[in-house]
C-alpha cells in the first residue's frame, strides 16, 4: 500500500495542480501559460501578449496615461498574469501611494534610479535600461518620483485623486489581419 502511494504521489500532485490551474484560468482569466497546468503554446494569450495601461486622475479631473515604475514590478506582473479584481485593485492602490511628478522634471540624480529600473516585462511597466518607450511624446504626462530623487517644487507634482489600472491582451483577428486590444480587467483606487 505504501509503495503504491509513493508511486502515485507525484502524478497525483501534477493532476491536482493542473486541475486547479485550469479552473483558475477560466474563473480568473489567469494566463494558461503559467501556474503549472501545461497550457503553454496553447493560446496566444501568453503573459507577453498582455499589457497594462495605467491612468492617473488629478484633482481637476484631468487624466494622464502613465508608466508604472519598476518598484511595482512584482504587483504589475501578478496583475497581468492573474488579473483578479483584488490583484488589479492592489496594483492601483500601490500606484496611488506613489508621488507623481511632471515627466520633464530632471533631478540631479539620474532619472532612472535603481528602484525605477526594475525591469518590467510588458507594456505599461518600466523596461530595464531603456528610455520611456513612448509612442506619443507630444502630450506631457507624469512619472513616479524615484525613491532617491530629491523632492521637486510643489507645482511640478500632481495630487492624484484616482488611479485606474487596466489589464489588456493583444489578439489577432485572422480575417482582417489586425491585432486588437481586448480588455481583461479594470480596477481603480481612489484617495
Amino acid at each position: 500500500m505504501r509503495d503504491r502511494l509513493n508511486l502515485a504521489f507525484p502524478s497525483l500532485l501534477l493532476v491536482l495542480v493542473a486541475a486547479v490551474q485550469i479552473y483558475r484560468a477560466h474563473a480568473y482569466s489567469q494566463s494558461s501559460w503559467k501556474g503549472g497546468g501545461f497550457g503553454m503554446f496553447a493560446t496566444a494569450d501568453s503573459p507577453q501578449a498582455r499589457f497594462l495601461r495605467c491612468v492617473i486622475v488629478g484633482e481637476d479631473g484631468k487624466e494622464y496615461r502613465v508608466r508604472l515604475p519598476g518598484r511595482l514590478q512584482s504587483a504589475a506582473v501578478k496583475a497581468r498574469i492573474v488579473p483578479t479584481e483584488e490583484n488589479v485593485r492592489d496594483l492601483a492602490e500601490d500606484a496611488l501611494r506613489l508621488d507623481w511628478v511632471r515627466e520633464d522634471y530632471l533631478a540631479v540624480e539620474p532619472l532612472e534610479s535603481p528602484d525605477d529600473a526594475g525591469g518590467g516585462m510588458a507594456g505599461g511597466e518600466a523596461q530595464p535600461g531603456s528610455g520611456p518607450g513612448r509612442i506619443d511624446p507630444s502630450s506631457l504626462t507624469y512619472r513616479a518620483l524615484g525613491k532617491s530623487e530629491p523632492r521637486p517644487p510643489k507645482e511640478l507634482m500632481l495630487r492624484v485623486k484616482k488611479v485606474r489600472v487596466e489589464v489588456w491582451r493583444s489578439r489577432l483577428d485572422p480575417a482582417s489581419m489586425k491585432v486588437e486590444a481586448v480588455m481583461l480587467r479594470s480596477g481603480a483606487a481612489e484617495e
Binding site: P10, S11, L14, V15, G35, G39, D45, V82, G124, I135
Partner: protein, 296 residues
C-alpha cells in the same frame, strides 16, 4: 605510429566510450542528467541557485548520493519552495522538474527503484502531454490556427521560420513589430492595428497546429495507455517530439527534462534507444546555435 593509425585509435577510443555510456545504469544516467539540468537551468533566484549548486556538486562528487532518497527529498524541497515563491511566473517545466525530483525520491524508497522510476517517468511524461492536449482543445484560438499565426508574427523565436518558410518578408516583420509596440505602449490609446502576413502564413500555421496536436495526443496515449501496440512507440515519439519542437522553439530545460524522464523509462537492455536519447540531447544544444546569424 602514422596519422591514419592515430585517427583509427581515437575512433576506437570514442566507440569504447560510447559503448560504456550506453551500458551505464539507466537510473543513474537519469539522475545525473537531472542534476545537470538543475545545476544549469533550475532558475535565477538566489534561494534556488545557491543551495542547488552545492547540492548538485555534492551529487556529482559522491556517487552514492545519486541513489539516496533523502538527497532527492532535499533537492525536491528546494525546487518546490522556489516554485511556491514564484508560482505565477515560473514556466511549467519547473513544476515538472519538481514532480520528477519527488518521483526520484519516491522511487528510491520502493522495493525496485528502477522499475518505480521507469513507471514515474512514464506517468509524468504522459500526464504532462495529456494536460497540454486538454489546454489545446480548450483554447478557441489553437485549433483554428490563429495561435501559430500570431506566434509567427509576434514571437521572435519564430521570426526565422516566418521569414524563410511562411514567406513573411523582413520589411513586413519590421512593420509588424512596430504595430505591436504601438498597440502595447503604455501611453497608447490604439485599439487595433493592421499586421502584414506572408504568402504561406496560413498554410504553415495550419501544419504546425495539426502536427502539434497529433504528436502530443499520440504521446499522451502512448505513455498512458497500457496497450502494447501504442507503448512500443513511446520512445520514438518522444525523441521525434523533442527534435521537431525544440528545433523551432528551443526550451532546453524542458527538452532536457523529457530526455531524463525518457531515459528513466528506458529498459536497461535498450541500448539503441538510449543512444538515440543521447544524440537527441546533443541536438537540443546544437539547436541553440543561432543559424540565422550565418545568413541561412
Amino acid at each position: 605510429m602514422t596519422a591514419k593509425e592515430r585517427v583509427a585509435e581515437k575512433i576506437a577510443a570514442a566507440r569504447a566510450l560510447w559503448g560504456t555510456a550506453l551500458d551505464l545504469d539507466t537510473l543513474e544516467v537519469a539522475a545525473v542528467l537531472t542534476l545537470g539540468l538543475l545545476l544549469l537551468h533550475a532558475g535565477s533566484v538566489w534561494y534556488l541557485t545557491v543551495p542547488m549548486t552545492v547540492l548538485c556538486i555534492a551529487g556529482f562528487a559522491v556517487r552514492s548520493l545519486l541513489l539516496n532518497p533523502t538527497y532527492w527529498l532535499v533537492i525536491a524541497s528546494v525546487t518546490a519552495f522556489a516554485n511556491f515563491r514564484n508560482w505565477y511566473t515560473v514556466d511549467n517545466h519547473k513544476f515538472l522538474t519538481t514532480y520528477w525530483c519527488i518521483a526520484l525520491h519516491c522511487s528510491l524508497l520502493a522495493r525496485d527503484p528502477r522499475r518505480a522510476a521507469s513507471l514515474q517517468g512514464r506517468l509524468l511524461v504522459g500526464l504532462c502531454f495529456l494536460f497540454a492536449d486538454i489546454w489545446k482543445v480548450l483554447s478557441p484560438d489553437f485549433l483554428n490556427g490563429t495561435f501559430f499565426k500570431y506566434q509567427l508574427l509576434a514571437d521572435g523565436r519564430f521570426s526565422w521560420l516566418a521569414k524563410v518558410v511562411a514567406g513573411v518578408p523582413s520589411t513586413a516583420q519590421h512593420v509588424n513589430s512596430l504595430r505591436f509596440a504601438e498597440l502595447m505602449a503604455w501611453d497608447s490609446g490604439v485599439m487595433s492595428a493592421p499586421v502584414l502576413g506572408g504568402s504561406r502564413l496560413t498554410l504553415v500555421a495550419q501544419v504546425m497546429t495539426w502536427w502539434t496536436i497529433v504528436i502530443e495526443v499520440l504521446l499522451a496515449a502512448a505513455f498512458l495507455a497500457p496497450w502494447r501496440f501504442l507503448s512500443r512507440w513511446r520512445h520514438p515519439l518522444l525523441i521525434c517530439f523533442a527534435l521537431t519542437t525544440y528545433a523551432i522553439a528551443n526550451v532546453v530545460g524542458f527538452g532536457w527534462l523529457l530526455i531524463a524522464m525518457g531515459i528513466a523509462h528506458c529498459p536497461q537492455e535498450a541500448r539503441f534507444t538510449r543512444g538515440m536519447y543521447f544524440a537527441c540531447f546533443v541536438f537540443l544544444h546544437l539547436f541553440l546555435i543561432p543559424f540565422r546569424n550565418f545568413g541561412f
